[in-house]
């Protein structure tokens, strides 16, 4: 059973702040981490491997060369192989171009099951998993919070919806997208850390995919969505103290919340 786990290196968005004086994003010193939903997916794969020795886990990431360190850490957690898809020509890709590239790489690497995090905490699109499934023409189950059973033919999973959960049986190969709350990811371990230095991250470039992926379908050129403009959220360093009767206090707070769109229906 070959399980491919898709991961992304992201800035820890819980550490990102907007400078209250300049209104710009503070990214200095923000650590890079494995995207939490992806880490849950890796843990789900490792848990399957704990139960079944025949499971072979390949972790795949598309990103800049720095993502190599993160991939080595996945080996230090127990993954068997790691592949980094890195190439300037792949840069600037939106989810549409990214999914084409990942699908081409997956075709080359081989898979029986693909596990991806539901969404990344930087882009928050939740699109790469389903779009990769579409490119590979295989079924998908998104928002998975438990993998209940895995056989060579099918997987039984629990999917979290807004107000209920479904137990679904999906034919393999398939893409599952996982939620960060579904498990507690294991730490690296000293033994696999040592081994990770003898099991280098494999590097793939566009040259490895050129026979099945036209250049106009990758990177910025292959991306139908374009960023028109960006701006940071409205934060303020100003402080003001009011001494008003209770009713006026309540009214002013409610009005402020309404103006700031913090009261929603």
């Amino acid at each position: 059973m070959k399980i491919a786990v898709l991961v992304k290196q992201v800035p820890d968005s819980t550490e990102i702040t907007v400078d209250k004086n300049t209104g710009t994003l503070v990214r200095d010193g923000v650590p890079s981490i494995i995207n939490p939903d992806d880490l849950a997916g890796l843990e789900a794969a490792l848990a399957l491997k704990d139960k079944d020795d025949s499971v072979e886990i390949t972790v795949i990431s598309m990103g800049p060369p720095q993502a190599k360190g993160m991939l080595q850490e996945t080996i230090a957690r127990g993954a068997d192989h790691a592949v980094l898809l890195t190439d300037r020509r792949l840069g600037g890709a939106d989810t549409c171009a990214t999914s084409r590239t990942l699908a081409a790489a997956l075709d080359k690497i081989g898979y029986d099951l693909i596990i991806a995090g539901r969404q990344a905490i930087d882009g928050d699109t939740a699109q790469v998993g389903p779009q990769t499934a579409e490119r590979l023409n295989i079924p998908q189950v998104t928002y998975v919070d438990e993998i209940i059973e895995l056989t060579p033919e099918y997987a039984v999973v629990r999917k979290a919806l807004e107000d209920e959960e479904q137990i679904l049986k999906v034919k393999l190969p398939a893409v599952l997208t996982t939620l960060s709350g579904m498990n507690k990811p294991r730490y690296m371990n000293c033994m696999d850390i040592v081994d990770s230095f003898n099991n280098p991250v494999q590097i793939m470039t566009y040259d490895d995919l050129v026979d099945i992926l036209p250049q106009n379908e990758i990177g910025l050129a292959g991306s139908p969505t374009k960023v028109h403009r960006t701006f940071t959220k409205d934060v303020s360093a100003a402080t003001e103290t009011f001494d008003l009767p209770a009713q006026e206090t309540a009214e002013l707070i409610a009005k402020t919340l309404k103006d700031k769109q913090l009261i929603t229906k």
Binding site: Q72, E73, A76, R186, Y187, M188, N189, C190, M191, D192, I193, V194, S196, F197
Partner: protein, 379 residues
Amino acid sequence: MDFNLTEQQKMMQKLFREVAENEVKENAADVDENERFPKESVEVMRQSKMLGIPYPREYGGAGADYLSYILAVEELSKKCATTGVVLSAHTSLGTWPIAQFGTPEQKEKYLRPLASGEKLAAFGLTEPNAGTDAAGQQTYAVKDGDDYILNGTKIFITNAGEADVYIIFAMTDKSKGTRGISAFIVEKDTPGFTIGLHEKKLGIRGSATSELIFNNVRIPKENLLGKEGQGFKIAMMTLDGGRIGIAAQALGIAQGAIDEVIPYVKARKQFGRSLAKFQNTQFQLANMQTAVDAARLLVYKAAMAKENGEPYSVLAAEAKLFAAETAMDVTTKAIQLMGGYGYTRDLPVERMFRDAKITEIYEGTSEVQRMVISGAMLK
């Protein structure tokens, strides 16, 4: 000369930091307050293969280096000195003698479960009348057919009751003094072996420190470690290594205290500005960090000497002496910088201050370290 950690050591350090920050830290106050053994932390260490870091793969260890193990003690001790000493006593004192002096059979039977983390180890040398002066041992073992019969009492034993395997020193020939001491591997459930009084301590209050009582305990001769009469040598060599572990614990406590002080002095305002803006704060912090960094160099150097098979007895003594005194000094200053809040149990520095004191005492007091260092100088 290269003062940098290798890539592998850096990755190990990252793991230890994650475990310390996410698992060990949240229990530290409770472990101290309720004087309870940090079982959850030991379980995470077991899963992360941290209980056999420097031991070979063929016996279930991680097959990593000695400095990586020292980094583990340092990082854990930044958040919880109790957890640091559990790892140090297990790795340096309880497991190392078997790895170093054990027969292949002893290694298979004992080193494998200890290095893989299935079992925990302890070391029993100290007695009411024999601390650093090990020649005063009153525990004795008498040969009886294929066994030894062990009688006596050990005190202040770290991991007592929690450990499954104990390295116990006993007189096998009183007439030979220290050359009459032998080392034995004793299993927890051996009939006649009981855990006695649990000590109530100033610091490292979650570490299990108790008496070991041996009453006609029958030990098979296969569990004699090394040869008869080699016990004293085994004990002294083990303690040399153990000192590097305690030095790392002291280093961790000191750095942990600085790590607590920095956000505090930035946030706390007095006379209209943060404490961090006062020159007294700045100079104190500079002195504290400089001392800790100097201690770190000594500790890592001793660890590297041990890893490289070079003499490390004096280096270990220097590292422990300096790191322990630095820990005491830095935690004292840390409380002073934090004032009344620092003195309360709301913040962890008062615990660090109490924990620091033991590093000047166990596995050889600071005075003993000075004896070791000057002894080598005046030889």
